[in-house]
Symmetry: D2
């Protein structure tokens, strides 16, 4: 976890205190169920909650000190609780194993993290929608291979991003369901020493579903799917960040990250305004993607369980969720305040001497009876001249002066192919597909 790439709400999920609080709730709910089943005295569960309701401070240092001796974190925690609650605490954890606590706790943490990330996506989607509608009909050049292709609108670019993050939201909702299971099944998962009804009770109280078959641990394919989904979302963040980095290039400058007063772009060059936020997002995306492979490697635990997954999760549990939360927040801010320059877009759009209309002329020629190959050749030979003139020549002028072209199309017909609105006529259709309505 890197503090500068962290936000407090997500970070709070991963503190030792938060973890111990979830552990207590798992243990206390389980003790309730054990008491209902007559396995432990009703009073034992009551004692636990009575102490808990005093809102005790979690003494992390004390628990760590016990762990330094026992070398076992859950035993250390239980010992500390027993020191506070007294004799009734011995009924806690009856028939349970540490993994029941640890894995169910991780499920709660990842579920809560997923909820924050879903809210992050909702915030991003709202901003993308607002700005997409704002620039629904702002013409700009569409680029394939970094080369001018044909006109689009800036709103279409954002509509695409909206649709992509909306898919990511659905994927995350599925991954959240995948991860949100409770296992209280005891050693090697047989329920030998603990009734399955305890698991059902704890699951219900914590808002989880029951893990159908655990083997002391919750199977790690669930976690792998969760972190893989975060990796896909990171890929989408990089895509949108890269778009903005491109648009802010000096020669393009169609959009720009907001540049706050007092900000310095470079210690050496006072003229600089750099897309540092989106460059930063590009790097953060690399990290979130980098956590996918360890998560995939965690699936193949030995037999009923080994503990190799645990250290990995101590890193990637916080690091992947905190980083992605920060990145989504940062991206939302970038889009929200993005400086958008329609005039520059218009200027760039016209930079290529009308080349962006080459396809329409090609189609018109074929429809006028010229073979596809000849049409292509006719348009390409004029287009290449414009290309090489660095925008000084006009495709329209050249075409009107090319007798092979004018043999098939009249000047008016040619001119009609250079109409910008022609390219925008289905923007409504696409917006309706993406945003409904």
């Amino acid at each position: 976890m890197v503090p500068r790439y962290s936000r407090p709400e997500m970070t709070a999920i991963w503190t030792p205190e938060a973890r111990f609080r979830i552990w207590f709730e798992i243990e206390a709910h389980a003790t309730d169920a054990l008491a209902d089943l007559g396995v432990v005295p009703k009073g034992a569960a009551a004692s636990l909650w009575k102490w808990w309701n005093t809102n005790p401070t979690i003494d992390v240092a004390a628990i760590d000190a016990i762990e330094a001796v026992t070398k076992h974190d859950v035993i250390a925690f239980l010992t500390w609780v027993a020191e506070n609650v007294g004799d009734d605490a011995r009924f806690m954890h009856q028939g349970m194993t540490s993994s029941d606590v640890l894995d169910t706790c991780l499920a709660v943490q990842l579920r809560d993290a997923a909820d924050i990330l879903i809210a992050d996506l909702d915030a991003l989607l709202a901003v993308l929608k607002r700005r997409a509608e704002e620039h629904k009909l702002t013409p700009t050049i569409g680029r394939s291979h970094g080369i001018h292709a044909e006109p689009v609108t800036f709103g279409l670019k954002l509509a695409q991003a909206y649709a992509e993050f909306d898919r990511n939201r659905a994927r995350l909702v599925a991954a959240r369901a995948d991860i949100a299971t409770c296992a209280i099944s005891g050693a090697v998962g047989t329920f030998a020493n603990i009734d399955p009804r305890v698991e059902a009770h704890v699951a219900e109280k914590l808002g989880l579903t029951v893990e159908p078959v655990s083997t002391q641990v919750i199977p790690r394919d669930r976690h792998a799917m969760f972190f893989a989904t975060l990796g896909v979302i990171a890929g989408s963040i990089e895509r949108l960040a890269t778009e903005i980095r491109h648009l802010q290039r000096t020669e393009v400058l169609e959009a720009e990250e907001y540049f706050s007063p007092g900000q310095k772009g470079s210690s050496a060059m006072p003229h600089k305004r750099n897309p540092v936020l989106t460059e930063n997002l590009t790097g953060l995306a690399r990290m979130v993607r980098g956590y996918v492979t360890p998560a995939l490697e965690n699936v193949a635990l030995w037999h009923e369980r080994d503990i190799s997954h645990s250290s990995v999760e101590r890193y990637i549990g916080p690091d992947a969720t905190i980083t992605l939360d920060f990145a989504l927040g940062r991206l939302t801010g970038v889009i929200d305040k993005l400086l958008i320059y329609p005039k520059r877009m218009a200027k760039n759009l016209n930079k290529m001497g009308g080349l962006v209309n080459s396809q329409r002329v090609l189609l018109a020629l074929t429809q006028a009876g010229v073979s596809r190959e000849d049409s292509y050749r006719l348009v390409q030979r004029n287009a290449m001249k414009v290309w090489e003139s660095d925008g000084q020549l006009s495709l329209l002028d050249l075409l009107k002066a090319d007798p092979e072209v004018t043999a098939a199309l009249s000047p008016a017909e040619i001119e009609e192919k250079f109409d910008l609105d022609y390219h925008l006529k289905h923007v409504d259709t696409i917006f309706a597909r993406v945003f409904g309505g």
Copy 2:
């Protein structure tokens, strides 16, 4: 693609012939829709299908030769079709761009690959279920950290695998839906030169859904999610393969890959019977997982599109699906014919002098009023003696001879804790959760 790790049905999806066939269908269906819209003559579409219905051989070499000149695969294909169909062919591809063909084709291929993989999973699930039920109550030792823990059944191991692959099936069904979209939206995705109804028609004919907003290409987050899902499935394959590799170890030998007559385990050591299939699966899983990262890196294309994704997909499209198909088939065969040795399982289960019952004694002591810490100490001190005796001492004997233990529990009470059936009493519950019923 490595021939020895390939099966013909999946491989057939990825041949040049198969690709060109899909390309033709996309073009011809699109021409139908264009004809219905009055953009091209009805006869043009008819000519295409008429030729197609002669079941023409796809001359891959001829198409490649054209591509060597044009350096553009779709143009090469269209030129070749035109050579065969004649003049009407010039109406093909009107207003379309290569990506419309390429991306929709890839969607068909990945969708078809997903269908094979889903069938593979169904076959694996059927075998897992059969063998799980066969060994539902075959006792075997459960191991955590590779160390004997408490009894489970061999059926439970397979039930866990069933549940895991059943989750994978659901994930793959979702990934299939994610990938199965059709884009016929023309240059930079604006439909400027092609009516959206063409896309709808082709989508319907090919069994795809319409891509809501494409940018000449189908967005690559869909593909990233698809390949990430394959990576998760590979992780599960490695898990089950690793289980079998462990069970076949000389000292364990509770199960063994089928060893066919005439097979040689080692060129040098005639006594060897090695788990080479599951070791192979472990390696194949590494490959399928390795393809996830390039797929994630493919998401961030520049602006409306660049073509950097294409070379990646020429590798991982076939390699990931063919390898996973092969691996699932191989794993299904391994489980189907797995030699399972219940006698050895029983022998191993009893190897540790009854240590596997330590928890029950611990719980009984605490329920008899001994503190948890004292109970743990009492059991551990006897357990460690058994442990160090290499199975020569019996935990039951030692406990009955420990006055601090017998002060709390009678000999009969202690003996009752060494009952195997105690551990198996919830097997039915778990099977019902996994298999229903």
Copy 3:
């Protein structure tokens, strides 16, 4: 292996024929050594070479047919050789194990692949050097964050690439040495049944060093290092490819991939000239990097060996080396024929109204006694006006009109800060560092 991204020399290393030829040489050289040691008859080795000198065709299909029964590739090969050589063949492979053959063969193949890749790097370095010297003093804008910073030369860009690939060459030479070891140590590597002098003989004949301690297999940390090195080289390829993609953008157009006659940039848009080769290289780099992780996962084999590495190497051995060879060749061609536009570079360099000189003015102000903070503020406030004017205003004019600036610097002093040569004065120094001399 994707044929279109393959070159014949590298591909030839990985054919079954080539593999079987190396196998034979290992076996025959080993038999020579065994004969010298008196373990097998001298005539046995002679028989092998006698047959070999007839230059026999390797009947891959026959060997595969035998493997289909024995399920063991080396045994199948030995059987086939015995069918050809006759009775003396039974002395082959005495005391050896399959891995002796397989791993030493892989060492030969990777060593040969490394030699091709080193030659590829040499070719690339030669081209980079030539073009760097050609454009040693061609001024162009240096960009940080995609934003104009200060002038550099195009030669400097290529000198950087040269230095980077020269480092990669040194890394590959080291990786080649790491991989080029011979192990003929028999089952579990103890030399129990084969004298270490056999290994020494084979190593010398094949140009390998002796593996100091093998465990039936050559340790896979060597291979991991090899493939990791290829991954680093791929990263450098992506860097240079990305540079060219940026330079070819429509708005920048300072350099361009060679566009051959007859080439079509787009099936739909005849005006397009796209940087498809460097985009392709970007994708290929993703693949070569993607093979690093499976190679790293291959290190942790079980005990003296398991065979999980084998399937991985059947993919990445050919795929990583063939792809990288192709990519290096393609990149060399791109640089060799790169169209470079000094006029456009000059135009772009002057596009920003002189902003690229902001640092020099800043430094001059501080040296004239203005505090750093005030200097920064003075330059920035004028620079931002120029920035927002889209190149219409001139920084020089504004500075000369700013009384706070002119209080510290005279107009002549300010003008002197706008001298291009100032930025190029150390190009010689850097070239001498990179190219020597």
Copy 4:
């Protein structure tokens, strides 16, 4: 960074204080050189060092507060230094850019981290050597595919690990040299505003070499190679950790992690002694390997530089080095105190009824004139009976009772093939190769 997987010496490299101290030294040494060149007053450099020699506390919070306004870390630091040093501080950083400071600082940090890791490897190598010599001739079964193969010694296993980590040491020394470069080249690396002699001076003072051609930043192929090397080392850690995990399995139990008094293996099962340290190392290895991919992705920065690498390095700089340092320390402790059980090794070695001698019999039969195929068949048919008897039958007995075998070999000849020392005769040779002497 996860505190429980961190050691103080390595962690200290990565604190904000440590970073600011290195920044200061870079700036002050550069100011010395600038003063020598007459660019800034001699007194300015003296003022810096005078303040520094008062051993001032680095007020991280104050610097962070300035950064919150300027959004630029180096400017914030310079401002804070100026507040402390006074007017002379304005001569600092003349002609430099932030990257000169940041990248050279990172080089110092990674170089220092490499030095700790090299020392870690030395400590591990010393322990491996000691324990290898201790068990040089302790016989144990060698296993391929997890299946008993032929005898080795425990010392050989450790000698292999020694050789592997010795290779890793050499790789790390090379990676250290690769990373330890100094760049003080100013904006876009042209030295326009700073003399190359400044760089040479700072490099010498900090023990770095001069970066031949930087582009404002040090090229990231260097860092990629560094982190890839750490990933390879992590692979070797996983290999040795996996070996120990296997050896500690209940059925094997040939070695065991030291189990300290007061330790609890399981909260539920008091009998457990689990290889938790080596399982933990397996997980940590996944993390260190996981950082390789982001490092590889960092190479392709845009043009002269973008800042996407920076966030990645804020994670993996500390995380990869701290985790690897911890892992190497933990592994050294595990090997140092490893409980090794020669009796159990002997017991396991004899477990298979002499099957481990099958190869010798095979070779003897062929040398007695039986064809290789027949020899294999004869040995295999007896071996399979022993295999299936679960160690109850003896291969020696069966062979002596097989008339086809005794037709070729006398009983005494057969018995002689069952001699353990035969397998150990080259241990000295291998030890001499690995440890010299």
